[in-house]
């Protein structure tokens, strides 16, 4: 039974607490920490039988009974907390993005090199989603041949408040799609070109950010890829992928609450996609932790290591550069 401490009791921290409690058989959450711990959150955590509830995450890192740490704190603390945990010999599962700079991620990589016994996983949960996993499986099984064209559509149901995001759309939202591009083609990215604009809310441009983007990518294995992003799809969370290759294509559509289709004089109408990431990807949050726990137990490689964490951030930084400089940017330019 793996003893887990969760650092950060915001939305994603709570999701992991509930998910591990109900759906991860070989792990138990024994401690949880958050600098802004309040009574409501404390009660929520206690409801799952967690006894050690802290404000200071260091109490988790220093707890010799804890085997593994889930880093669910704010992005800027991902790297330092991960490093502390690694140095304390804890296995680490860290939410994405690992950091907003290459240097900070490199520091995590260095810490891991110094602690080869530590398992490290990045929280790219979509890799464990039933639909995206089916795309990769079809590719791995050779059903579509060599990858030639990948298309990812990723649109949020509603935009965050203007100025809310510290990070750009690329680091905050597209980062998942960048990881998907690598995962689905089983390849790194070599170069990209971005068209981005503020078509939903022009005032976002004042913050140097965008709400609509088309990102073309040249993958290291030769495949071409394109991601289209919008911060606001009125019909809901649109999450699709299609991979085209020398033998055929595999494509996914959106999940819905039910398959009911209503035919009337007005048309033939099915349900909108599941609302947002908690509804759409809930099962994947369990599966990623199950596989993390299995990697610890079996002393095998975790399914999403530091390389994926680094790649995705480099791609996001390259995308920012391309959008701002109106030119193709090679990943090798990013350091």
């Amino acid at each position: 039974m793996l003893k887990v401490g969760i650092i950060g009791a915001g939305r994603i921290g709570k999701v992991h607490l509930e998910s591990i409690s109900y759906h991860v058989k070989n792990a138990v959450v024994t401690a949880m920490a958050d600098p802004f711990m309040n009574d409501e959150t404390r009660a929520f955590i206690e409801g799952f039988g967690v006894e050690k509830i802290y404000q200071d995450y260091k109490q988790i890192i220093n707890d010799p009974e804890i085997d593994a740490v889930l880093v669910c704190s704010s992005t800027d603390t991902h790297a330092p907390i991960s490093i502390e945990a690694i140095n304390a010999g804890k296995h680490v599962f860290c939410e994405k993005p690992l950091a907003n700079t290459v240097d900070k991620i490199q520091e995590i990589a260095d810490a891991l090199k110094a602690h080869p016994e530590v398992k490290f996983q990045v929280g790219f949960n979509r890799r464990f989603d039933h639909n995206f996993a089916a795309v990769r499986k079809a590719y791995d099984e050779g059903k579509i041949g060599d990858a030639q064209i990948l298309k990812i559509t990723s649109r949020d149901p509603q935009a965050p408040p203007v100025g809310y995001c510290a990070a750009s759309i690329f680091l905050d939202m597209t980062i998942h799609d960048f990881d998907m591009a690598c995962f689905l083609t089983n390849s790194d990215v070599e170069e990209l070109y971005v068209y981005a604009d503020a078509l939903i809310n022009p005032s976002i441009r004042e913050y140097g950010d965008f709400d609509t983007a088309i990102i073309s990518l040249k993958m290291a294995n030769g495949a071409l890829a394109v991601i289209d992003n919008s911060r606001q799809a009125m019909y809901g969370y649109d999450q699709r992928a299609e991979l085209f290759g020398s033998k055929g294509m595999v494509a996914t559509s959106n999940d819905t609450l039910s398959s009911a289709v209503i035919s009337t004089a007005d048309g033939v109408t099915g349900e909108k996609p599941l609302f947002f990431f908690l509804e759409r990807y809930m099962e994947s949050f369990s599966e990623e932790v199950r596989q993390f726990v299995a990697a610890v137990e079996n002393n095998t490689e975790t399914p999403v290591g530091i390389h994926a964490g680094m790649q995705s951030v480099k791609i996001a930084l390259a995308a920012e550069k391309s959008a701002n400089e109106h030119r193709a940017v090679k990943l090798s330019e990013i350091d």
Copy 2:
């Protein structure tokens, strides 16, 4: 070049005129007759280059230049005109139903026996529809194994005026579905049981008729089948079939004007089915005549002979009997 005379210049007669002119390469309509021929109809017919336009159909039957006759007159005249044409040595394509009684159809059969050189085809156009033909093809190719369950959904977009139909729903509308049941399972019907009611317009009951029905059938080859009918589907003409067997299932859905699907805050909406039989089955009207012409040219059997014409009417009469007597009726009871 087969020279064709069309008897009856109502809707279906005009459909065949246009369809043969544009889409049947080895046939030409040289004559057309209708007792109610008016100027408008005459002009329409002339527009297709037809020179011989009559009120009296006998002028077509007596025309030695004419090879084949399409009987598109009112149902009660189908049998006598067909018999006259057969006796005159014309090949005959007759619209459905051949008649409303077994006796009259038997007279056609007798005439055909006396004129074995004459080709005879019944106008069950749905056999030539791309979707239904694909169901039968899958069955013939063994893809679904032995037929076990057939389901046909057949719903009209709007009911005819009450009292309009001389014939019952079974002879007027379901007759096509009865023929489909035989065609899709490649079998005759042995017995059936009907639940029928007037759920759309109760006043239809005064005419001894129904507007909604579920007809269960036991096919001669052992398969079970069910047809559901409605005179009024608010979303349009609903024409589907599914055949289930020992190896799998083949199922069809409705055709639409386009594949466009619109996703908005209100849902994900596709188009309604094509409006009615002219829109839905237009291509099949050409194909049935093409195959009739080919049978004449090649001196082969037509694809829909007198047996199909007789079976479908017997089934319809058995269905009337079952609905009225509230019991299962065997086809062998109908004479």
Copy 3:
């Protein structure tokens, strides 16, 4: 926190144990009993923290700490155990069918009448399935108008061994569909007619049973309905419903493991339906118990009471009678 005892530790008993432990917040399983309790089952139950594990179910019924009982034992014991539990003042959730005779179910009804404080629910889990619930919701919201035609397709992926079932296909398998027919049209059944045969394995006829059936029903509210059953669909568990009414239609399709569709030179291929009822309906097993617990907590009516339990068995018995006597059978004939 409702304290629950589960009687019967077979497959469905274990499903409820796991489901309640993980997904039903206000209930806890404190006891479980099975006459054939073995070490493996005992270990499984202990894994969920259940302390009271018995061979004799009476220990559960006599336990004053237990609020509610889930009757998951063999069908012939459903009624007597339910009655004992009711008489002991326990709330009862009983698996379907309640019994194979009307008399036994009437005894449960009588016990309930004598204990009006007891909540009683029948395990018709499909009512809580997302797809079927969406059909009923559309109907309740008036989107399809008055119900006119209901179609239910229910096909198992593989037949049980011949002679395995004590009960007929109607009491064992179709019973769920009979309840669905009532649920989806919000009506009782008035009369039915059955065509049934042994098309998959003719030797089933020796046991007086069938493996393929088409059941036509006349609902008390005037709607017509049809259920088609097969014990063996080679493509998997086929569970669909469509309800047609005066304003339109609502229809559901099967659930799959993913939405991935693979297009190759061989065609455009999606996944088969989820394998069987545990995969397909797992979520509904939680939801039905959640609503049972809520009814106890709020002292409201349970969503599936004794009437539904009685109706479904009466319909199944009428279906047996119709199949054997080749005639329409009214529900009023069954006592």
Copy 4:
């Protein structure tokens, strides 16, 4: 009755001959010319009742009885023949692309300016396809709000022989998609960026051409667009579009020969897309000419004028430039 002469009796010339004969009521083909006229082609043309069959197209241009000319000759002759016809006062329908250079198209534009009475239409038939027209219709009706993201997938079922094409993939194949991008967003293109490669057959690179491409476009109205092309989709001709806007999305899927879906132990399999452009777009070839004829008859603007013909070629030339220079290219750079 518009009298039409067709110049060029290759595949597309024959398609127009047949299509006009069968499906365009107010036009008749009275003459056809081809420098390589042979007996087989002559017999084909005569079969449609065309009496004037020439080797020299000038006989058509000089024929005072002919009202309109369809230019279906090889691409390099489109411009000079169109100009001759315009100068002779004939209405002109010219196949795409108008030419491979801006200068030549400008010459056509100049001729048209000198002959304002002449109607001129470019053969962008896809604008008249039922699916693409439905996308534009939904947009025009305001159902999706302001256009933000357009995605076009356009993949051929099989690549032409290497070295066969005189023109690049952009001028030969993508030209249709460029016109679709303008049509569907109702906007010109401002700038584009291309990733292109030879992933199917690397030897195409020796001819300076590509077989796989992702083209990102910035439309003049602010929308972003992306086209993905492949010369070889093993599952057939893949022709889809989706337009996303401030209120929602409209998307189309491929057409198939039938809607039949076969479910077996191997999966749930539907048909592949219709094979290639003749199968897929046949109806659009009639519709574009019907609208050309109507424009002549009613003296209104044709639906696809010289501007669309010029734009599409400019975009194709910009795409070539971008692919070769690895940079974003503005349309304003192309002259």
